[in-house]
């Protein structure tokens, strides 16, 4: 008798192997999944935009001969001492505690060699970082771990963190295994306990209060330091407008691809908006208030290449900030540690249990032996090289569009490959002069 043909086993799209594995993990442990990094899901991004380049109506600049400036000044609104940077790419806030001391030193070294700033994080300012950072931004966070007026005064700018893209509306958790004597001492807490970072500031609520808080910070620091306000990509138009109202010199806008040291996976993947969707509303808010370029906009969350930098600037940002990419440049998720990633149940590129402190690359750890694996001088040089490449790539694209400064890039230099990207970036779908929401067409 002839065998009946088999049907191929069909996997459910809804209950995929990945989904089922998470159900089994949750059932076994009773704990939600915590991890580091930003959103891993596919969202509309800078890859969905293209530069048009020069043509009959645009005059390109010679790639290797004609100047294309990359300098940027941040904090020109109120601060006596704005931040002058050679390149429009800064290093985002990442805490000592989540990162090792050598990793913070490497970030400072790399950023300084490239002519840009780096940023502290939740956990205070370390000597490694201050000593090796020509320009250091001091984050003012809800937890106020390590906060003191001396460090406030020796910072080059102050960044009031309202939220971050990986978890708008959420706090953080540094698990006990990373709370060494030094980390605990800086945070005024016992060793080995889980340290929660609050989701909102302890002594102000809302933009009216924040305006007064900023007044206090300026009074303490003699009105010298630029005050940044960092917001997660939640309601970019109103958050930007309210940050301007509160007195920000600079707004840092972090989309959902922006990383975190540790939070719930459900938070990272399901709260906030993609970076691409955040930029135009923020720029619109600044333009509506007559503050575009007066209050500088720094965009972060998923910046990887010079093309990403150029596209963010073309949409109206003054600078970008990188965190995850900077860690990769230092050596995070490097294939040379694959055997050790396998032992941890993961693989190169997917390692995200930064909160557990067992990072084979010696970056997201406080383990003295693992930390030795990162040479801060060599890692700093890699970061410098990477920042230089981003800058050269950004200049290449700006010249191709005929601009002698990267800030002259504009939305008219772009088209979109998808309807979603066209709608978010408000640039025409390729081959058309239309984008969703455009009226008068």
């Amino acid at each position: 008798m002839e065998k009946t043909p088999d049907t191929e086993p069909r996997q459910s799209w809804t209950f995929s192997n990945d989904t089922n594995s998470e159900i089994r993990r949750a059932a076994a442990t009773g704990i939600y999944d915590i991890r580091g990094g930003g959103a891993k899901r596919r969202v509309p991004h800078f890859d969905d935009l293209l530069f048009l380049g020069a043509s009959m109506s645009r005059y390109p600049l010679e790639g290797y001969r004609e100047k294309c400036d990359t300098s940027v000044t941040l904090g020109t609104r109120f601060a006596k001492k704005p931040i002058e940077l050679k390149i429009p790419i800064t290093i985002a806030g990442m805490s000592f505690g989540s990162l090792s001391g050598p990793a913070k030193e490497a970030l400072g070294r790399g950023a300084s060699m490239a002519g840009t700033s780096t940023t502290t994080g939740d956990g205070g300012m370390t000597e490694e970082e201050r000593g090796h950072s020509e320009k250091l931004i001091y984050q003012y966070l809800p937890s106020r771990y390590g906060m003191n007026p001396d460090d406030l005064r020796r910072a080059d700018a102050i960044e009031v963190v309202v939220g971050q893209g990986a978890k708008p509306g959420g706090g953080g958790m540094l698990l006990g295994q990373k709370i060494t004597e030094r980390v605990a001492g800086m945070r005024c807490l016992p060793e080995g306990i889980d340290q929660r970072s609050a989701c909102r500031h302890p002594d102000w609520t809302g933009p009216d209060d924040l305006e007064i808080k900023i007044l206090e910070l300026r009074e303490i620091t003699n009105w010298e330091k630029p005050i940044y306000i960092k917001v997660g990509g939640a309601r970019p138009y109103y958050d930007t407008a309210l940050a301007v109202k509160a007195g920000a010199d600079v707004i840092v806008l972090d989309g959902m691809q922006g990383g975190t040291a540790a939070t719930q996976d459900v938070f990272i993947e399901h709260v906030g908006q993609p970076t691409l969707a955040c930029i135009r509303p923020a720029v619109q808010a600044l333009q509506d208030l007559g503050m575009h370029r007066e209050v500088q906009l720094v965009v972060s969350g998923g910046i990887r290449t010079g093309a990403d930098v150029a596209k963010a600037l073309a949409l109206g940002a003054d600078a970008v900030s990188i965190g995850t990419a900077a860690l990769v440049a230092l050596g995070d998720n490097d294939p040379k540690w694959e055997a050790e990633y396998q032992k941890l149940g993961t693989t190169t590129g997917a390692y995200d249990d930064w909160h557990e402190g067992r990072d084979p690359a010696g970056i997201t750890t406080q383990d003295p032996e693992l930390m030795k694996r990162l040479d801060p001088e060599a890692a700093g040089r890699r970061l410098r090289n990477y920042l230089n490449v981003l800058t050269l790539e950004c200049q290449t694209l700006a010249r191709a569009c005929g601009h002698n400064h990267v800030h002259n890039l504009e939305p008219e230099d772009l088209c979109a490959l998808t309807m979603e990207a066209a709608a978010m970036a408000q640039v025409p779908l390729a081959g058309t002069n239309w984008y969703p929401g455009k009226t008068g067409f």
Partner: protein, 228 residues
């Protein structure tokens, strides 16, 4: 002989610049601020031994991040008085609004009247003495230091408390998550007696109850999910 700064005629920036310079010079001078009119950020960021008396009530963040200075408010203080204070003494003759002494690392905050909600939130080593009552959610996530209350405490005292010690003489409306009453031992009585003496408070240490962390939330445990 004290030096007078009249805020009816002098801008905040000039007042603070003068006080900060005096503190930095370690001149041990006495200043009197007239007509504060509820101004914000008065006498903030002082970084040395200077004495400041404010003749009236202040707005937000009076004496913020104080180091070594002595600031006395002869009136009431708005939100966040002595926030993130590092050392020195800040005295409020009247009442204090929300977040008094928030995230303070050291020194003594002495409130002669009542303190509103979230007094001592996230305190990191400061000593706070409140002669009257305190509002709800006081000492929320308090990490280190001592909060002494001669009157009553509102709801959810010491919620998610770390290692700060709370002493209350009156009633506590309710305790927050992971905050429990603990034994008042001789070493606590000694600390309490010292703080009461420094604050000029008319109370006996033995009249207080001590509250602290049960430490059940120090490391995540799903069996405590109801408390998170």
């Amino acid at each position: 002989m004290s030096i007078s700064l009249d805020m009816a005629q002098t801008e905040l920036r000039e007042v603070n610049t003068t006080l900060q310079a005096a503190a930095k010079a370690q001149a041990n001078e006495d200043y009197v601020i007239e007509n504060p009119r509820g101004s914000h950020a008065v006498a903030c960021g002082l970084d040395g031994p200077v004495s400041v008396t404010v003749k009236g009530s202040t707005g937000y963040y009076c004496a913020g991040m104080n180091k070594d200075a002595e600031v006395t408010v002869e009136g009431s203080a708005g939100p966040g008085v002595a926030e993130n204070m590092m050392s020195g003494v800040v005295t409020i003759e009247g009442d204090a609004s929300q977040y008094a002494g928030a995230t303070g690392h050291g020194g003594l905050l002495n409130i002669k009247g009542n303190a509103s909600s979230r007094c001592g939130i996230s305190m990191k080593g400061i000593d706070i003495v409140v002669h009257g009552n305190i509002g709800h959610m006081s000492a929320f996530m308090a990490q280190k230091g001592n909060l002494v209350v001669l009157g009553d405490a509102g709801d959810a005292l010491g919620d998610s408390l770390y290692e700060a010690c709370l002493f209350v003489r009156g009633d506590v409306k309710s305790l927050g998550a992971d905050c429990i009453e603990k034994e008042l031992r001789p070493e606590h009585i000694e600390v309490l007696a010292d703080l009461l003496a420094k604050a000029g408070a008319d109370a006996k240490p033995e009249e207080f109850k001590r509250y602290g962390s049960a430490r059940t939330l120090y490391n995540f445990n799903i069996d405590n999910a109801d408390a998170y």
